[in-house]
């Protein structure tokens, strides 16, 4: 492993997050600052990709909000993430399920994986 990856892994303080991958339905509780106040907001949707490694690892989460699709990218190890809840683990064949963007309605559903 090269030194950049090793050090970038050392720089993060790992949060206690559930193991999630593309296709899973999760709720991200994240802290937002308004002036001096801090409150927690949540974002619920499907994970469509996980990208990168170490301190630069991110995941993209997609939801349909009032008929408009919204995607948000979070750094996995961001200190502003309070907690992540795993609602459903989906059964998908790809690590990046961008094809979901072209699908709507019943076709945009993800099968739940049964273990």
């Amino acid at each position: 492993m090269d030194l950049t990856t090793t050090i970038s892994k050392e720089l993060v303080t790992k949060l206690d997050l559930p193991n999630f991958k593309a296709g899973d339905n999760i709720t991200v509780y994240y802290k937002i600052k308004e002036g001096s106040k801090e409150r927690i907001q949540f974002f619920k949707g499907d994970v469509i990709q996980r990208k990168g490694s170490g301190s630069t690892e991110t995941f993209t989460i997609r939801k349909i909000s009032n008929g408009i699709a919204v995607e948000r990218i979070f750094p996995v190890n961001s200190p502003s993430i309070d907690k992540i809840e795993l609602n459903k683990s989906g059964k998908v064949r790809r690590a990046r399920i961008f094809y979901l963007r072209e699908l709507t309605g019943k076709k945009a559903r993800i099968k739940e994986s049964r273990k």
Binding site: D2, L3, T4, I7, E10, L11, S55, P75, P79, S80
Partner: protein, 205 residues
Amino acid sequence: MPGLLGKKIGMTSMFSEEGKNIPCTILEVGPCVVSQIKTNEIDGYEAVQIAYDEQKESRMSKALMGHLKKANSKAVKKMVEVTPFDIEVNLGDILTVDLFEEGSFVTVVGTSKGKGFQGVVKRHGFAGVGDATHGQHNRLRAPGSIGAASYPARVFKGMRMAGQMGNERVKVENLQVLKIMSDRNVIIVKGAVPGAKNSYIIIEK
């Protein structure tokens, strides 16, 4: 200012206490051996020569090896003079990252990535000439006029034209030291540093 030789390792990011994602550069710095101290009496100027990056002794000339032996140094790839070197050092001293402190600001000197012979659009940010269509011939990325005619009857010095871009010495000041890992000889600074990965850099206090 005392300086050390090092290498650019690569870039990554880290989170600050406020939760901000800060881009940062990883630098491997030292250990450097003080291989020569130049003085006013002998050399006519004052400087400290430091040696860095060990290599096989068989790859060095005997003359250079003899010079390094005086300072009890091993064979090295790179030597550089730093002046003025404000702190007292002796021949053969080994300088490490402990010279620097977390939170302080440093200057980094490197050689920028070479871009080759470039035109004025890339090199100086010219906008090019005219349109891409409407009968435009071949002047899309041309510099345009470089001056008037019979007066002054010459092109002014310093006129921006095409030429070599990059691969030159670049100094970046006021980079904040975010973290020092003395066990690894690594310094992490905020922001970017000139040059490619594994290129040599001089980091000054």
